[in-house]
């Protein structure tokens, strides 16, 4: 099957000769200018914003769910979304967000600060097993909550012992205890209400799926004993210090661990107390949200714009369960559009959400996001004029020269190329136990890095990539002011000197080293053969080349079972510590080369506690310099992204992170696009050197 993309690509290249026009392929004008046909890549796996992991899933979910902030469609800097303004403490550890007044979900229910608290607490809930839960660990108590070590409070019931974990199965509005038969009835819908006992104060109530810890109480009931909590120190706390849930509600709970597993009991609201406030996200009132972080986090405003942090509707989740996101048309959204139909491996249809706060700006009524696996197929459908724009990088590599003008000097007007915040690099295995002895030699590693004339890469790959010798990619500066130190750029004299030293230290000869790449992508092969050639030509080294299936290669990476491995990194947010930070910590499971040093660790600790941007950048600079000087990573180039967008699609969001908000887009068959941001041009790109 490796041949398939190649054959498709070659045939398409031949096919391109059918048009020599300004644009690539047919343009079909239609009467309907309120529908956008978007060519997405493979069939999405999840629409649940917290649980999805694939980029193409996020592109759909981002339209359906909104976050506190969003990214500016052109600059990718954080701008207000659900939150209209915010305050940040000088140490970047305490945030107060003020939500827009009158926010609503797509069913018209008000969207309040507590919905944000719910969305985040549920994403961190162990039972949901969210793959990206780590992003929430910056919140105080987040790691403990996700690890199942932080629970709500519960005083002992008749059957359940203190110290046991229980889960709320169901709530019943009746004052009387429900009988066993009600356990099998469908879950009751929880309504927001006011507890008469608590006066006019709106009280919290637990919902199905909340898990709690059974607690002891003092004989007079005024003290509760707390285990394993974070914000509240261990020991006894005043019962009045913890929020009491509604007293007239009966909760059905079930034991989750030990001998109490499966044991069911009933508890009234009076017996329960809430501590999801142990997770340091608090809804102060309907529109105010307070967050305490565990460490200074300068990128928190960017982080809360991430798909994982987007707001979901609690009632939808309670009603539809874990597979709620497959019930297109039935679930409630917080974003500009809402999913109404999901046809497997065909398309997802989204309709405009009339209750969305920015609905006045949203000009499209409908989005049809087509799932197209194969790049060549996507490009053929675009050529045929049946899709208005393609998601980034759905163009076969063999077609790019035809689009970017490197063949005839006439780039197509509907082809857009811009930098993409990521680096393509080789990892050198220096792990103490498994690393090959030759690569433990610093001089040899440096020689390898210095002997690559990366300026040859653009002509080799013809895709517009920018040669790069630093780990942090090009394009970070506008966000953070960070500039990478110079890496081991091509220097033949220095390379030969280092090689001589390596030879001496290794006792004359240099053992054979092998480059490992993953199968199925032609580009990796081309690059690896080029690197092989460079090291042969400049250093006289015979380098082996082997390829492995992706998952098998990932396992080898984990076990540090390789010499040199091809890898890449795309920024999840524009922050240099995404590339140089925790990933070279001693013993980190993500330490790819298996390298660290005391100096690096000292800098890392200082960096993580430093709230000042300039000082923080200085630490990261020194850390990156260490990594590059040691030659444990051999960066090759920074990525670019390729788009095909029909000329009648106006104001398409193009930014360095490829985060798209389609609410900004409209269709204009006169191509005038008045008021739209200009399209990025090809000029001036590809000329930047590190």
């Amino acid at each position: 099957m490796r041949g398939l993309p190649v054959v498709l690509g070659l045939l398409l290249v031949a096919g391109c000769d059918v048009t020599k026009g300004k644009y690539f392929g047919r343009i079909r004008h239609r009467a309907d200018t309120r529908t956008l046909y978007f060519g997405n890549s493979a069939e999405p796996e999840f629409m649940d914003p917290a649980r999805l992991t694939a980029v193409n899933d996020g592109k759909v979910a981002d339209q359906c769910f909104d976050g506190l902030t969003e990214l500016d469609p052109q600059t990718a800097l954080p701008i207000p979304a659900l939150a209209e303004r915010w305050e940040v403490s000088p140490d970047w550890m305490h945030f107060t967000f003020h939500l827009r007044p009158g926010l609503k979900f797509s069913d018209g229910r008000p969207l309040e600060a507590r919905d944000v608290v719910y969305s985040w607490a549920r994403a961190l809930h162990p039972a949901w097993a969210v793959r990206d839960a780590e992003e929430f660990y910056k919140i105080d108590g987040g790691e403990e909550w996700n690890g199942g070590r932080l629970r709500g409070l519960r005083v002992a019931t008749r059957k359940l012992q203190p110290g046991r974990v229980v889960v709320v199965q169901q709530i019943s509005p009746a004052a009387a205890e429900p009988s066993d038969s009600t356990l099998r009835k469908p879950r009751a819908r929880i309504e927001a209400r006011t507890d008469p006992d608590a006066g006019a104060k709106v009280v919290h109530r637990f919902g199905p799926g909340d898990d709690l810890l059974v607690f002891d109480e003092s004989p007079d009931g005024s003290w509760l004993h707390v285990w394993e909590s974070v914000s509240l120190a261990g020991g006894w706390v005043r019962a009045s210090d913890v929020v009491q849930p509604a007293a007239d509600v009966v909760y059905v709970v079930e034991g989750l661990d030990g001998a109490q597993k499966g044991v069911r009991d009933f508890a009234s609201g009076k017996q329960l107390a809430l501590t999801s406030s142990l997770l340091a996200v608090r809804a102060k009132d309907a529109t105010t949200l307070e967050i305490d972080l565990a460490k200074p986090t300068l990128f928190w405003l960017l982080q809360v714009a991430d798909t994982t942090f987007r707001v979901v509707d609690r009632y939808t989740l309670d009603r539809l369960g874990a597979e709620w996101h497959r019930h297109a048309g039935d679930f409630v959204c917080s974003g500009a559009f809402c999913l109404t139909e999901w046809k497997l491996r065909d398309s997802l249809t989204l309709l405009k959400n009339p209750h969305y706060w920015d609905a006045a700006r949203t000009r499209l009524d409908k989005l049809v996001m087509m799932s197209i696996d194969e790049q060549a197929t996507a490009t053929a459908v675009y050529f045929d004029g049946r899709v208005d724009m393609l998601t980034a990088n759905s163009i076969p590599g063999s077609m790019l020269p035809r689009l970017n003008g490197s063949i005839d000097g006439k780039p197509k007007a509907d082809y857009i190329r811009l930098p993409y915040l990521g680096t393509y690099f080789y990892v050198v295995n220096v792990d103490e136990k498994t690393g090959p002895p030759a690569l433990k030699n610093r001089a040899l590693r440096r020689a390898l890095g210095l002997a690559l004339d990366r300026r040859e890469l653009p002509a080799l790959l013809k895709s517009g990539i920018v040669p790069w010798s630093a780990k942090v990619p090009l394009g970070m500066e506008p966000f953070t002011g960070y500039r990478s130190p110079p890496g081991l750029d091509f220097d033949l004299v220095a390379a030969k000197k280092e090689l001589e030293q390596a030879r001496r230290e290794l006792g004359g000869s240099i053992p054979r080293i092998t480059i490992r790449i993953n199968t199925g992508v032609e580009q990796h092969q081309i690059i690896a053969e080029w690197v092989q050639g460079q090291w042969k030509k400049h250093l006289g080294l015979d380098i082996g080349l082997e390829s492995q299936e992706w998952k098998t290669m990932l396992k080898a990476l984990r076990q540090h079972d390789f010499d040199i491995m091809r890898m890449g990194g795309i920024a999840s947010m524009p922050e240099p510590e995404d590339f140089v930070g925790d990933n070279y910590r001693k013993g980190s499971p993500n330490n790819q080369p298996g390298w660290s040093s005391d100096e690096y660790m000292a800098l890392l600790t200082k960096q993580q506690l430093e709230p000042d941007r300039a000082k923080r950048n200085q630490y990261i600079y020194e850390m990156e310099k260490l990594v590059l000087d040691e030659g444990v990573n051999i960066p090759l180039y920074t990525y670019v992204q390729h788009h095909l967008v029909k000329p009648y699609v106006c104001n398409a969001p193009h930014n360095i992170l490829d985060k798209i908000a389609l609410k900004y887009v409209w269709i204009d068959f006169t191509y005038k696009c008045e008021g739209a941001a200009p399209r990025p041009t090809l000029e001036g790109q590809g000329s930047i050197t590190p």
């Binding site: 041949g3 097993a129 990932l554």
Partner: protein, 306 residues
Amino acid sequence: MKRLVIGRILFAIPVLLVVFSLGFLLMKKTPGGPFDAEKRPPPEVEKNLRKRYHLDDHWTKQYWRELSGYLRFDLGKSLKREQSINEIIRKAFPVSATIGLIALLFAVAVGVSLGVLAASRQNSWFDHGAMFIAIMAISTPSFVLGPLLVLVASMWLGWLPAARLDGASSYILPALALGLIYAASIARLARASVLDVIRQDYIRTARAKGLSEGKVIWKHAVRAGLQPVVTYLGPATASIMTGGFVVETIFQLPGLGTYLVTAAKDSDATMVTALMVFYASLLMMMNLLVDIAYGWIDPRVRDARS
């Protein structure tokens, strides 16, 4: 006939059990899991994931959990997509079957008529021409034929959509790309066996009795001559319905073939095992249908059985 059907169904049970067990064990031994990525999640997250998908249970417990689901015709959930596999098959298989059926009808209609006509005009220009085209078609894999068809019919001429299911016209190119190779094989089979039958005594008798040439060929020769074609059709039907991965990818059809390939790539153990079992039962069912069809086509087989 009844005995044949019952016997086959009883035989299918141990076969499917072996297929299931093999699939289960092979996937347990495959490196990597559906949650692997470049960046490894913290231990808390890995623990939560393992717990959610029961991966921390002993393998015998997992085996029994899945097997007992199969006994209730519940193939479980895909690990990667956390979606019911029954639902995926229910939605995706009809698409594969429709495309396969169209391709099959096309292959039989074109293949049989070409083969019979070629046989009845042996060594004529028509015979040589048809067999030349058949050889060409057999040697062209669908991943070359598909894009070629897209290039000509969609990109150059603009007559048919390049991909995706969107109206009746979008079935034409995929069915062609999928069916042509089978049409060619059938044509060659049909030609050879009809030629064989034409030389038989009973055909000579039919001719001697003064039947018209058309009646001799189409009534007597073809019926007997189709037997190898029917034998071929059993596995061909199964493979046309299941082996559509390439065509499904080129034309972005929401069929089942792609799920098997992506599931294998994702190390989605439950999905791979379920599809293996599903395809195995499909293949056995097709072979049973072929055996039943023999009896219908050739009275001698029917008589021998009863």
